[in-house]
Amino acid sequence: MDIKAILARIERGDRSAFAELVRHFQRPLFGYLGRMGLRQGQAEEVAQDTFLRAWQHLSAYRAERAEFSTWLFTIARNLALNELGRASNSREWPVGDDLPDAACERVQPPDAVSDTQDRDRLRQALMALPADDRSALALAYFKELDMAAIALIEGCTAGAIKVRLHRAKQRLRQLLEST
């Protein structure tokens, strides 16, 4: 995808070009937010806010400083951490689609139930990691970001990122094996 060309089109007044950026990054962004431990509703809000903020501050983006993906995921990281902090401070209870159904409206096949339980277990294990380790781990699975880019987003060195990743995976493995 030619980000430079898309940004040039937006500068010339073609708003619809931004939709191409949204379509390209939406799935990796939701992937990141899921690995950060956000629930579906939270992730949808944070993802929307990420793109909105990117739109509002597009004039501040400098291609010579970082790739667009790095810049976008820096915004996403900050919003995700704010949301997680806000949710834990307000001791929010999950609502809507996040609530496990007490009485199912429709019967779910056993595989679907097991998948949901698996994802919940993984989510709880991820939430037990320190936020910095979790964020580094969450970013590592987006192939457009290399170690240098992740280090830029996290505000540390590539060496520190490698340490965080190793530590996070080890801890995650321990947590999942103990459940």
Binding site: E11, G13, F18, G31, L52, L137
Partner: protein, 73 residues
Amino acid sequence: MDDIDTRLEADLLQVPDDFTEQVMRRIDTLPRPTKTSQRRERLQWLALLGGAALGLSQLLAFMFGMWAASAAM
């Protein structure tokens, strides 16, 4: 690639089918971003630094004045 990698690479969340449309609807209510020139940004930073330097020099002058007045007593 181990089991952890497989689980973390899987889609933990779903992207709503109309997500792009939702975002673009909100963007339609916002003004178009205008490119600020780098030169203008540098001038803005220079003005900010100049103001800070002026403020600091006034503070130091005040402190010196206080010291001079108290030393004269």
